[in-house]
Amino acid sequence: MVAIITNTDEVLASAEQGTSLWSDAWVRLRRNHLALAGLGILIFLAIVSLLTPWIAPYGYEAQNLALGATPPSWQHWFGTDIFGRDLLTRVMYGGRMSLMVGFVATGVALVIGVLWGTVAGYAGGRVDAVMMRLVDILYALPFMIFIILLMVVFGRSILLLFLAIGAVEWLTMARIVRGQVQNLRRQEFIEAAYSLGLSRWRIVRKHLIPNTLGPVIVYTTLTIPSVMLLEAFLSFLGLGVQPPESSWGLLINNGVETMEEYPWLLIFPGLALSITLFSLNFLGDGLRDALDPRTSKD
């Protein structure tokens, strides 16, 4: 996205957006404190995740069966789980997995969905019909059987997990983008670009995609947390993470079972996920506002 926008063509830049949109956007983003805070938190989480193997207080698989589940204490800030494993350590390790799955799988969905939706919405007619009916078909195929087969044929791997999640998550993205593009296509500035004799691909790349960014960013920020939870479901089915490793989704899943007895097992991973989600949303909103080609005129 960055490349597309910084590359803005001179003629069109003056036609509907300010020069050097990206640096303008950065200026605007910096004014938005919440978005910055969101960005800061995400960077912090990413750094913690990267450093986890060196800074985690305990081993993620080190059990102490006799200790069992204990509430937060000085030795174990987040408490311990039923195996007597340190929850803080497990949340840190879980974050590595969840953040990676969240961002990579969403990225896959994002790329496919945006391209697919744009092409379908822009081309219209038969191409659109075929492409969108394909989306309908993929929606309808039984997901569980698909997952089971994936596992049987390829065995367990993280790559497969991305593939499986990407395969479902791009569909709605494509529908949203397509609706948006169809809507934009008839607008004046696109018609103007047409009359200026620009190639189709150029129009799509430089005008349609940037102008659908709003809903795309919003939907992306929603997709990341739901992907993290989907990962938990797939891992439970055996596709993704295997114990003793973990992820936030799995920790939450397990925490729900014992939320009355050992609430901390739910609260801490839940908080980690929620903080990520809120940061993402604030950052997403900030980005959306900052990148909106029209806000510069205000």
Binding site: I137, I145, G179, N183, R186, L222, D285
Partner: protein, 311 residues
Amino acid sequence: MLKFFFTRLLQAIPVLLVVITVTFFLVRLAPGGPFDAEKAVPPEVLKALEANYRLDLPVWQQYTSYVGDLVTGDFGPSFRYPGRSVNELIMAGLPASAELGLYALLVALVIGTLAGIIASLRPNTAQDYIPMSTAMIGICMPSFLLGPLLVLVFGIWLDWLPISGWGDMPGDKILPSITMGAGYAAYIARLSRGGMLEVLSQDYIRTARAKGLPERVIIFKHALRGGLIPVIAFLGPAFAGLLSGSFVVETIFQIPGLGRFFVQAAFNRDYTMIMGTTVFFAFLIVLFNLLSDVIAVWINPRLRHQAQGGH
């Protein structure tokens, strides 16, 4: 418009056919047969069972006879429930699931669009943050967490509402509807806020404002149309998903819906039931994606042009 509608209806036929064919063979590729059990089934019994359900025929023959039955509206007998046909099972689960889906959709639409619109009017103020943060709870709390939590708080600690059932006691539909609607509400709130912001900064809204039209008219009459387009694109598959039930919500609240069949059929390798639920769901997807596209066209005059142009 009518032509657009009927063209799309015609397109449903190849879609369904592809779904049926692909699913038919996928299901048979998955390891484990419908009659495998913890205690090994004696080979003689297994043979009798397979003959009973025509599984001893060559696969292509199974396929043609299945599609043949399907054309007459017969989904075949369930493997898991020997006395039941798939049609019967789907009809048994549909009313509860459809009702729950409708309520959940209402919850989601009312909360979601209201929160989204309110937030979009004063972006980046408290009027934005408070409704949006509330809506986001729906995403932080997936139904497998929200459901038990609501039950504990309102059903057990406060003892205000029934904790399970569907239509057995007054008020037992509230918690499941909220649980199921919450996640969708969050999506709708976020998408409508984004869509509204997009639209509110466009020229025709500025023109309307410059003309001095009342804000209420601008928002509801002009802005909402464009602003809800992303929501409408999302609603097609969402509605199909809602109507076909939710395994999680239905098992948490003991609701006799379709969602349980969807999941169990796959786990049980109940071939005919998997086919039945998949075809049914495919039909819903096609239908609601069509409806959502029709609505998108209908509320957006520019697109109507295009649809009538028929290309």
